[in-house]
Amino acid sequence: MSYNVNEKGYYGDFGGAYIPEMLYPNIEELRNNYLKITSEASFKEEFAHLLKDYVGRPSPLYFADRLSKKYNTKIYLKREDLNHTGAHKVNNTIGQILLAKRLGKNRIIAETGAGQHGVATATVCALMGIECVVYMGEVDIARQAPNVARMKMLGAKVVPALSGSRTLKDATNEAMRDWINNPVDTHYIVGSVVGPHPFPDMVARFQAVVSDEIKWQLQEKEGTEKPDYLIACVGGGSNAAGTYYHYLDDESVKIIAVEAAGKGIDTGESAATSVLGKEGIIHGSKTLMMQTKDGQITEPYSISAGLDYPGVGPMHANLYRTGRAEFISITDDEAMTAGLELSQLEGIIPAIETSHALAVFDHKKFNPNDIIVVNLSGRGDKDLQNYIDYFKL
């Protein structure tokens, strides 16, 4: 059984491309070209070159000594926080900007929640000298001010999404509308493994560099390519997809996906899609999503802007349904505590998104010999004000 995408763009029951006809040519163009272009030698070379010299890959696989001691197990942190721009997101935007160039596009749009994807997109657009428009929910603009400032410095236009919950889902709607209105010259750099096929697969492939590196890095450090557990937080699911990618079909490697419980699963203020969601269509993809009985998409809640999304990528919906991955929900409070703990035990301030993944250690007991790899998906610079306010530091 494979947990990867099939030829029609589905992961089990999930995926596909449920898009208005106005988007069909764009999606079709991508679908016809993404595998061809990304397998060309010149593409691979340029991608590898930029990941190395510009992004700073490989990101270290760091053995967290004091954290491991505290939880009496072996914890490795995959340091995506050290990437240029401070999160895993840039792996994907580098890939997509190279694709967009080869498709002859001269304008880029993107949606962003935490702002990390917006920054990563604005960054590659500056690098290539291409116009960039980023849609961001008005609420997120307020709670992730440093990233808004960065996008502006990079020359991108940040457009507030004023509809709905004014967070990530609405920014995504606005980006899709922009794409509908600018079908020829514009490429939409989707920021996670969501959206219509081929986006989930394409983004997962660009992020797969993460598990590709984990394999040889773990071999170097532990004499085996295989960890016992892989842990990642899941907003749309791109850092998780990258972490799992090369291990998906090897069931001896256990997978833990961490979602944001917000104020608690039962409080009505949550973003734990797998538990609270049902099958449906969101942003062009059939997947699990939070919705009313009536099929209206629910406004999610999480302290973390990057996890505050009512859907989840189709790969993850399938991992949940098939039981391949264990899904754990972490509340705001648990995440914040875990973020502070990592800061003070290891000198690494994680993004609040990432803090959710780290909170697993207070939830689940591991064996002393277990080898655990956590994707440290991003740094916490963008979240400092939230941490400070929360802990009254």
Binding site: G16, A17, Y18, I19, P20, E21, M22, Y24, P25, S163, G164, K169, D170, N173, M176, R177, I180, N181, P183, V184, K278, E279, G280, I281, I282, H283, G284, Q291, K293, D294, G295, Q296, I297
Partner: protein, 258 residues
């Protein structure tokens, strides 16, 4: 014969109007439908509001948000339309995004449509391929026509495929855009209209997006069977309420300058 097909056989340019069910007030749905028919409209698209209408511009988005706030829901819409066929005889089409229909159950939804006297559906985010492979037989068994969109970017092959799957009309989107994004037509549109006309499709085409008055209605229907007004009518409703519906329709149908 389905009311849509019957209507398409009439020897006239058809005017179809879109409005969002439950807007401006929750209970306006039936009254608006009746007024549209009595004003001379040929066909009506009843919008089932959705929280995330990504093919729509701000005007229709806002009306959907308001309709949902008012309490509109799938259940509620069918309840409102329960006796619609006692007073209305023109074709009625439900236009809605796929997710609410999926949650209702596609077959259950089709059954309800048939019971209510709905003639067809427009589901912008249900691609023709998925429809063809998975849902066509269900729609067919309840006598529902599903309408597909084409845009200036749609390839010739794909238009032929859509034509082959369609059994009513083709919804010809005037320009690649969300609803309400542009108003009026330029050379590009005219050439596109000409190009499609020359393809001699089996299904007649009705033009939508960008039609707001008699002038654009005339332009749009020069080479097509009819035209659909959406955002312009919603704007009218939000500015003038239900009162001026017949004046709005008349201004579109009858040219003001001779």
């Amino acid at each position: 014969m389905n009311r849509i097909n019957q209507k398409l056989q009439e020897d006239k340019k058809l005017l179809s109007i879109y409005f969002t069910a439950g807007y401006p007030e929750l209970e306006d749905t039936v009254e608006i439908i009746e007024k549209l028919e009595s004003s001379g409209v040929d066909m009506i698209e009843i919008g089932l509001p959705f929280s995330d209408p990504l093919a729509d511009g701000p005007t229709i988005q806002d009306s959907s948000t308001q309709a949902l706030k008012n309490g509109m829901s799938t259940e509620k819409l069918f309840e409102q339309l329960k006796s619609i066929r006692e007073s209305v005889s023109i074709p009625l089409i439900i236009m809605g995004y796929f997710n609410p229909i999926l949650q209702y159950g596609v077959e259950a939804f089709c059954i309800k449509c048939q019971e209510t006297g709905i003639d067809g559906l427009i589901i912008p985010d249900l691609p023709v391929d998925v429809y063809h492979d998975t849902y066509k037989t269900i729609f067919d068994s309840y006598g529902l026509i599903n309408v597909f969109l084409i845009t200036p970017q749609t390839s010739k092959d794909r238009i032929h495929f859509i034509d082959s799957v369609s059994e009513g009309f083709i919804y010809m989107v005037s320009s690649a855009s969300t609803t309400g994004a542009k108003s009026g037509f330029g050379d590009e549109q005219t050439q596109y209209f000409d190009r499609i006309a020359e393809m001699n499709l089996k299904n007649p085409q009705i033009v939508g997006f960008g039609i707001s008055n008699n002038h654009t209605f005339q332009q749009a229907t020069r080479h097509s069977k009819g035209a659909i007004i959406g955002s312009a009518f919603i704007k009218h409703l939000s500015n003038y309420g239900k009162g001026g519906i017949s004046e709005f329709v008349e201004s579109v149908i009858r040219s003001e300058t001779t």
